[in-house]
Each structure stands twice: as C-alpha cells, then as structure tokens.
Amino acid sequence: MATKSFSEPVEESVSKVNNEVEVGEDLDFQRKWWRFENVVWAVFTLIIVLDLCGVFGRGPVAKAERRTADGTIDVKYERIERTDSPSILTVRLGQPAIVHGQIKLYISQSLVQGLGTQRIIPAPQATEIGNGGLTYTFLATKPPASVDLALQPSGPGLYEFTIGVVGAQPVHAKVFVVP
C-alpha cells in the first residue's frame, strides 16, 4: 500500500526587497527591547548593591545584636539568613548568668527546627527538654563567657526565636531566611 507523503510545494512565503529575501529586522521592536534591557541592567545593579549591603544576608545590614537590660545575655545573630547556608549565633553571658558555677541557657524550639541548629560550642553538660524548647547546662567560672550556636536553616521563611538564661529576662528576635 502506498504511503501518503507529507509534503507541500515550496512557496515564496518570506517577503522580498529588491528580489532578495527580507532580513526580517524589526527595529521598532529592537528599540523597545533595548529600553527594556536598560531597565533590567538598572535592576541588576540595584540587586548587586543590595547584596553587597547584606539585604539578602551575609552583610552589614544582616548583622544584628540584642541584649537584655540587666546585661545577662548579649546575642549576636544575622537577622537575614540564607537557606542551607551555615552561620553562627553567639550568646555572650554576663556575671548574672552564672549561678553556682553553672549557666542554664534556654533556647526555643524554633532555633533547632526552623533555623536548624547543627552544633553547640562548647558541648553542654546536660540538656533538658520542655517549655517549648531546650535548656542547656554549662559549667562556668566567670565572665567573659560565650556560647556559639552553628545554624543552617533548612527552608525559607520568617522565624521568631527566644533565648535566655533561666530565671532572667530572655531575648526575642526574628530572623528572615531567604531561599
């Protein structure tokens, strides 16, 4: 059985100028595109400047610090984090934080789950769970003393955390994690 051939005769479908196939240049469209490109380059420049400033994390604007009025703790963190990127949250502890040679530091669950605490430096002597978070016990002598939390957020979003010494005023802060 003969098969049907799918073919059509060639027609001069492309317009011609001076008996030559037209180039197909569209300068009106191209001028509009060049104007659009200029806008895009301005946006790109703005993004680079904002990134250098730290608006998308990892820069001066992203760094933040919160301390309690009584000087128990001073928390240095990044208010803008990046997904899957490591960072350090540092808790400096003052003299009122040390009770009977120990520091009991409470961190909310959001620091572990949302902001992805990977490690605590130094390793605590004991960990208790409860009150919507974890309470770590560290042996301490006298200030200056600090505890570092290695964070690595697993997903974007706005996270609120609480951190404080048991029996003292805590610090509340918000962290925005960009994708």
Partner: protein, 152 residues
Amino acid sequence: MAAVVRAFLGYFFLVFIVRIVGRRPGKQMTPFEFVLIFFIGGLALTAMVGDEVSFTNAICQIITIGFAHYTLAWARTKSQRLARVVDGTPLILLEHKAWRTHTLRHMRISDNDVMASARDSGLKTLGQVDRAVLERNGEISISPMQATPRKA
C-alpha cells in the same frame, strides 16, 4: 518537588539572563564568553541541585528542563511575538558601506567582530562586504558585494 520547581524556574531564568547579556554566544564565542557560559552554568548547577545529589533528583530535573525547553520551543512556533522576545530579530550591522553604529553599540559588537566573519566568508576587506547581519543565533552573516560586469 522543590527541586523540580527550582529546575523549571532556573531554566527560564537562564534563558532570560542569556537573552539580556547579549547575542554574542554562538559562533562569535571568544575565551571571554566561555568564562561567562561556564561560570553561569556552574553557579546555576549549585543552586539547582543543592544538597539533593540523588540519581532520582538528577533524572527528574533533567526531564523538567527537557519539558521546559520543549514547551518554550513549541510556544515560539505558535506566537510570533514570543519568538521575537525569546530570539530577537536579525539586525543589520553594515549595509551599503555604512555602519549601523546604534545597533553595533547596543549589541556590544565591534567592527573587528564583523571583519572576523568577513574573513570567515573569504573576504579580505570590509569594502567587499555588501551587508553584515547579526542573526538570531548570534552569528554574523556576510553578503559579499556583487561583482559588476565589465563593459565591453
């Protein structure tokens, strides 16, 4: 699922970036453009894959990119407007012994680039070029001057 969405968005973002950066990649690719292509590719790969290095993820992302590419290619054939946005239109760089300086400046192309294409077509001087066109694929096509017949 997020990996597939990342691959889909990443594909369209790269198409957009390459379109904005210019139409030079292609036959006119110089070492300086190689750096751009490989660097963008490497950075995109980091963001697309993330920490999901499984074989399943690779297969799903490759299929997603293939699907996105097929969709865009199909849509280009259906819409003339989309085809112009995605590919641009051919642009005349030199015609009747006159440079289109505005086009050259905007497309970041120098007369040396045109001369390189002219040499590729076997021409020795720009005076032998009738028309130079920057094609949609970034190639510069050269039409040589027609030889005028000698009078007897």
